[in-house]
Amino acid sequence: MADGLYKEGIAAERLAPEQYSANFSDLHPPLDRHEALVESDRCYFCYDAPCMQACPTSIDIPMFIRQISTGNPLGSAKTIFDQNILGGMCARVCPTETLCEEVCVREVAEGKPVQIGRLQRYATDTAMERGAQFYERAPDTGRHVAVVGAGPAGLACAHRLAMHGHKVTIYEARPKAGGLNEYGIAAYKAPEGFAQDEVDYVLSIGNIEVQNDQILGRDFSLSDLADRHDAVFLGAGLSGVNALQAEGEDIEGVQNAVDFIAMIRQASDMSKLSVGRRVVVIGGGMTAVDAAVQSKLLGAEQVTICYRRGKDAMNASEFEQDLAASKGVTIRHWLKPARILSGNGKVSGIEMEYTTMRDGRLAGTGETVRIDADQIFKAIGQTFDPIPLNGSGAAVVMEGGRIKVDADGRTSLANVWAGGDCIFGGDDLTVSAVAQGRDAAESIHRALA
């Protein structure tokens, strides 16, 4: 056992070197051919299948599974990509337990759904490994569309626009394309550089240029983009992080969970990453679970998720909660942060206040509890920052702090569409972002026709 396990404070090399690779290996190993055939045989090929209805991208799931079962994995992959060009990543990160697999009739019948996500991965991995390309660009239309953000929404939009013969330039703030697929999900969900492989696969259709380190409001403005292109798609995601609204939030040792997650994703040597001996994560969503589980995998001794409401209200799925528990994370409910505790200028713990529902509203009870911690992660949601967007020209109409769009993804501005986490009314899922990007592209294509 590494001495580092019990080292006080925030430290690297808590584990033996070989433990890191074991800890961060594939969460769900891929199905081999035989496993895929056996699993595909469990699908009943339902009429008007509930799984397909539950998929935000409406993939014809019974058909792609049937194609696997008949030894036609490339046909299966095309069925998936036709609806969702990022089907490979969605197969890995979709909370299938609350989407397709939740409504699978075998879940209803025997509590054991067809493993749709893993079958989708089998098909898409097969196609990507063989380098099978299914789409060609239509003849060049001479139109040029700007896409802001190379995340799932932007990539899906760009691919569909390219299919229709439009030239696309993607302006991406970060050094790599992929958005949250590259920076925002737990490392064990998409190891071995899958996100970049997928970006390359998507971009290989051609006529899509990605310009990195291009930040909206700093390097270019929306009005400028709109002037220089025939249409603009905003898929900028969320750049702000909600504050804890607790005393002592700026003390050393209090960090954004999304930054921690991004750091892990970009690391080449996990043993060099620092983590606290005792970690508290504030929040109840996927980000909270991803941060908590990975803290544990990096060698934190105690990791506690504190959520201000009950288990049922957590955005993290049942599966994610169970995963956290199986990795040794403690999940505590009905606690909200009151005060960060510190010593020598560093975090030493957090004082949490118990909460309850009073008259239909969440309220503190006044009773508090202290939890020792040398690292605290904030995972209580991200926000859209409209300032860079609306710094020039006419302002885009917002709703609930995010961009307002119609059913086609059109914003209040002519020739400007938006999709993904930056729009109002979404569910912050990769798969939904893909659907919105794809549908906005179709709308743009119709508008440019």
């Binding site: 055939l37 595909s40 045989d41 009943y44 008007d48 009739v105 019948a109």
Partner: protein, 437 residues
């Protein structure tokens, strides 16, 4: 406890489960293992005439079809009769019979269609103390090209002739094994009966090509790029075998002729079904070639438990019990009306019943009721065909419920008649026999 001791044409065995003439019964080693496992008897793999032994191919002998989980559903083979020396086989048969006197030892034989050839081998087999012989008139591949096996079984006159010789030259009971590769299985059965056979056994394997290698464009199993038709067996052939057994059992000319059933028998239930259709015992091959000899334990136990549960004391209580219920289509009661009923508590809403009915049948099952996914039978359209039951993945979820006499059939707007009435008297039948006035 039910008594499942069997007496088939005077051949006694502790249970009705025999191993069919096939690879599992080719030599003493296997047969002794089978007897130790509990098999009631064996039909020793087919012996040929004295002389240089038969040769087999040295490449794949078997082909198969599988379910998606590789469950073996059907097996095909191009193996010939025993390729071991006749002397060796006879010596082993004699020894095993001596060591296992309570088990049935039947010897399968296939020799050229001459009286001398049959006479010669019968005497040799009789010396072993075997309980009976089975005449292999069935093998559809290889031997049939040399005028034996199915080449004999497809000509009723030959069958009758050879059976006669056998009855003339041996005291042993004669079981004539029939090929299914024929239009009407009653013809060879009648011929065997006319020749004096003690019993028939069926079915032998069915001519088949199991699959084609789409890279080499060669039928499988493939021998150096070529393939040939082989004999098909296993669970997939059971329905064909059941019908052929029933046809012989209910044919007035062969009614009562003992039948040894063969064809995809894998479980006690399969065996019980064959026996209900008139078989006196059951022969098994593919199931043991898939799972080994141990399955006989379940067959013995399962058969006894079912018989105890139903109060059947011995095999005679079940043999042939379903034969009177096998009839011609023209005698089916056209006044019997059923409607499908979907148990909504069991329904998992897969919609297979709906799409099967909607696309391919009678548009008699809803998919949506009051805006909700809901599958329900529309009585005014349901013809009671049973397709929905067959495609439903949940056992017992859909039942065919008969309408009581006097009830209204909403499809035809007629009340259900209490009387039996069949096609022979139906007004739409031009050949209807008018009831005597």
């Amino acid at each position: 406890m039910a008594d499942i001791r069997s007496n088939f044409v005077g051949i006694k065995s502790p249970n009705p489960f025999w191993l069919a003439s096939a690879p599992p019964t080719d030599k003493a080693y296997n047969v002794v293992r089978a007897f130790k496992a509990g098999w009631g008897g064996v039909v020793w793999k087919t012996l040929g005439e004295e002389g240089p032994p038969v040769v087999n191919v040295n490449g794949p002998r078997y082909g198969a079809i599988w379910g998606a989980d590789r469950r073996l559903l059907g097996l095909n083979n191009i193996e010939l009769i025993t390729d071991r020396d006749l002397e060796t086989n006879l010596r082993e048969i004699k020894q095993v019979k001596r060591d296992w006197p309570d088990r049935a030892m039947v010897v399968s034989i296939m020799v050229p269609c001459t009286e001398d050839a049959w006479k010669a081998i019968l005497l040799r087999v009789e010396e072993t103390g075997a309980d009976g012989i089975e005449l292999n008139f069935g093998c559809p591949h290889g031997m049939s090209e040399r005028g034996m096996g199915a080449a004999v079984g497809q000509v009723p006159e030959y069958i009758e002739m050879v059976v006669r010789w056998c009855k003339q030259y041996t005291r042993m009971p004669v079981i004539t094994k029939l090929t299914p590769n024929i239009t009407d299985v009653r013809k060879p059965a009648r011929a065997a009966h006319a020749g004096g056979t003690d019993a028939v056994s069926l079915i032998n394997t069915i001519n088949s090509i199991t699959s084609v290698d789409l890279d080499d464009f060669a039928p499988q199993p493939t021998i150096d790029g070529k393939g040939t038709h082989g004999g098909y067996c296993g669970p997939a052939v059971k329905p064909i075998a059941l019908n052929m057994v029933a046809e012989i059992a209910r044919d007035p000319e062969t009614h009562g002729l003992p039948i040894s059933a063969i064809g995809g028998i894998t479980t006690w239930r399969d065996a019980a079904e064959f026996m209900a259709l008139g078989a006196g015992n059951a022969q098994v091959c593919t199931a043991v070639m898939t799972y080994g000899f141990k399955i006989v334990e379940e067959m013995i136990d399962g058969l006894k438990n079912w018989m105890d549960e139903k109060g059947h004391r011995d095999l005679d209580a079940i043999i042939g019990r379903a034969v009177p219920n096998v009839t011609d289509w023209q005698y089916l009661n056209l006044n019997y009306v059923t409607k499908a009923r979907i148990d909504q508590d069991l329904c998992i809403k897969c919609g297979r019943c709906h799409i099967a009915c909607e696309d391919t049948s009678h548009q008699a099952i809803t998919s949506m009721v009051d805006g909700k996914r809901h599958f329900e039978v529309i009585d005014a359209e349901c013809v009671g065909c049973n397709l929905c039951v067959n495609v439903c993945p949940v056992e017992g979820c859909i039942d065919m419920v008969p309408l009581a006499a006097g009830a209204m059939d909403r499809r035809t707007d007629r009340t259900v008649s209490p009387d039996y009435a069949n096609w022979t008297t139906h007004p739409n039948n031009p050949a209807a026999k008018v009831a005597a006035e």
